[in-house]
C-alpha cells in the first residue's frame, strides 16, 4: 500500500549524495573526472529507481572518500541515454579516467549488492 512517511520517501534524504549531471556537464564531471566514478541512469517515474534511491544515497555516502556518484535523468538527457545504449532504468555505469569499466542493468536494491556494483569494477 502507498504510504508517505519521512523515512519511507526517497526524498527524505534532503542532503543529496548524488550530483545530477546533464548533457552539458557530463564531459567535464564524468569523462574528464579523476578517479572512480559511477553514474546512475535513471528517471523519476521509474519505481525501480525509487526503490534504489535511498540505498544509493547510503552507498554514495559510504564511498564518498574514494568514489563519486552521479545521476543522469534520461527523461531529460535522452542524448546521453542513446550514447551509452541505455535500454532501461536504473542502469549503473562505472567510469575510470573517462572510460567505461563496468555496467549493471537493474541492480538489486540492497546495500551489499549496490556497494559491490559500484566498487568491484575498480578493484585490481
Amino acid at each position: 500500500m502507498i504510504s508517505r512517511t519521512e523515512e519511507g520517501s526517497p526524498g527524505a534524504h534532503r542532503r543529496d549524495a548524488l550530483q545530477t549531471v546533464t548533457g552539458s556537464t557530463f564531459a567535464s564531471l564524468v569523462l574528464a573526472g579523476e578517479g572512480p566514478i559511477a553514474v546512475e541512469f535513471m528517471s523519476y517515474g521509474c519505481a525501480h529507481c525509487r526503490a534504489l534511491e535511498p540505498i544509493l544515497q547510503q552507498v554514495a555516502t559510504r564511498v564518498a572518500a574514494q568514489e563519486r556518484l552521479f545521476r543522469v535523468n534520461i527523461a531529460v538527457e535522452d542524448g546521453l541515454a542513446g550514447s551509452y545504449g541505455i535500454k532501461g532504468t536504473p542502469t549503473l555505469i562505472m567510469f575510470l579516467n573517462g572510460q567505461e569499466v563496468g555496467r549493471v542493468d537493474g541492480p538489486r536494491p540492497t546495500f551489499e549488492s549496490l556497494l559491490a556494483a559500484v566498487t568491484q569494477p575498480f578493484e585490481p
Binding site: I2, S9, P10, G11, A12, C46, R50, G82, D105, R108
Partner: protein
C-alpha cells in the same frame, strides 16, 4: 474552486518551488492535490478532492464527506480502493511500476504460471529494471 492540472515533470527543484513538502519521487508514486492553504492531499483523499471540483462528480464527492461518529466510511473505501489499484498496477503490464507488493506477488506468480501453461510465458531476466518504451528507445537512439 477550480483544479489546475500540472504534469510532474523532471525537475525536483521546480516541484519543491510549488511547495517545499512536494517530493518528486512521491509525486510519481501517488496522486497529489495541493490545496490553496498549502496542505497536500494524497491517494484516495486526493481523488475525492478531484471529484469535488468536477461538475459531473460533485454529487459523488458528497458521499466521501459523510461522517458517522467521526468516521468517514465512503472515504475509507475510496482510500483502500486507490491503494489496491496502485498495488496491482504491475499486473496490468505497468513496466515502470516496479516490484509488486508482497500480497500481489502470489497473484503475479499464478498469472505467470497460467500464461506459461498456454505458451504465453514472458521471461524477464532482469528483475529490477524498467525497460525503456520503444518510443523512448527511438528518441535515445
Amino acid at each position: 474552486m477550480s483544479l489546475i492540472e500540472r504534469p510532474i515533470g523532471d525537475d525536483p527543484d521546480a516541484l519543491r518551488a510549488l511547495n517545499p513538502a512536494l517530493d518528486i519521487w512521491d509525486a510519481y508514486a501517488t496522486i497529489h492535490v495541493l490545496m490553496p492553504d498549502g496542505s497536500i492531499k494524497l491517494g484516495g483523499e486526493a481523488v475525492a478532492e478531484v471529484f469535488r471540483t468536477l461538475d459531473k462528480t460533485k454529487w459523488l464527492a458528497r458521499c466521501f464527506a459523510i461522517s458517522v461518529f467521526g468516521f468517514r466510511p465512503f472515504q475509507l473505501v475510496l482510500n483502500v480502493a486507490y491503494a489496491i489499484l496502485a498495488d496491482v498496477r504491475p499486473l496490468f503490464g505497468c513496466e515502470s511500476c516496479g516490484t509488486p507488493s508482497l500480497w500481489v506477488r502470489p497473484i503475479r506468480w499464478s498469472i505467470k504460471k497460467t500464461k506459461a501453461l498456454f505458451g504465453k510465458s514472458h521471461h524477464n531476466p532482469v528483475p529490477h529494471f524498467s525497460p525503456l518504451s520503444a518510443k523512448a528507445r527511438d528518441v535515445a537512439a
